[in-house]
Symmetry: C2
Amino acid sequence: MDFMTMMQTRKSIRSYEDKPVSREDLLKIVEVGRLTPSACNSQPWKFIVVDEPEAKAKVYDALQCSDGHSGCTWGNQVPAFIILVEEEAKVKPAVIAHYHDSQRFAQGDIGAACMNMCHMAMELGLSTCIVGMNEQKKMEDNLGIPEGKTVRLTLAVGYGIDVNPGFVKQRKPLEEVVSFNQW
Amino acid sequence: MDFMTMMQTRKSIRSYEDKPVSREDLLKIVEVGRLTPSACNSQPWKFIVVDEPEAKAKVYDALQCSDGHSGCTWGNQVPAFIILVEEEAKVKPAVIAHYHDSQRFAQGDIGAACMNMCHMAMELGLSTCIVGMNEQKKMEDNLGIPEGKTVRLTLAVGYGIDVNPGFVKQRKPLEEVVSFNQW
């Protein structure tokens, strides 16, 4: 499938078949995350692949925020998760000198890695949904993530059930998001 | 080209042929940015396509930081730039309630959009380099970007000259970035 068609047809899926995803496929997905370009090649990420029932239940628990909110109420039937944790970015001294922040580009790098993982999954016949919200403390406690290492995104992966085949992607019109040669 | 091969072979290019990129191609690249998924479908971005000499010189100037640093010393021969500016993210109330920050996911969303634009460019036979550092104030002054709207990334686009064909992508080994079912 050409890339434009991938972009036009990809959609978030929140219902999955009760069918495991192979470790082989999960590692191909992680591999494109690993290969993702990053600021100063800092690779400020760690990927936690979660595919065992007990660990998945812990992830599901951590996706339910203690204030009652959740971006993943449907997460108790997800075949696999890949959690993207932000690591310290070893960037060039110029970045530190200019921004006084080693993590200036880390969130963008992680977003790019997660996007690439969605594309790889699609090519493998798998569906995904990127989940942003989580309860950081529960993630740390449930999965042994060191205190303060931020869980940025959680990717749900599985063989999708398309419960809304007529879905039309909603985006701002082009003219609202693009300009030429000035703001 | 399959997606894994795209990921394995894509590299940042900092030398370009003196050959313009068509508006048609630039708009295809912007289109995949526009189609990128984002938190709560907030689409927190604006894309400024810069392909005229005077405007390109203004971008090049803004990529030279006032403290003498630059991630784009080579930017005076780039055929086109696409600047990614962070917009206010209209996210769901749950995100605000939990994170007290409408922009919690905006940087990641913009990183994903920029990555997609690199892939689309590659499919069109174009090369890219993502430039992170810039002088925000110069970007605002030179391009009329409203004060405080952060320029997150600048994408250089053109027909690349591969001055280092033997380049081997350097990444952390897989075992360093992945774990299973726990940290």
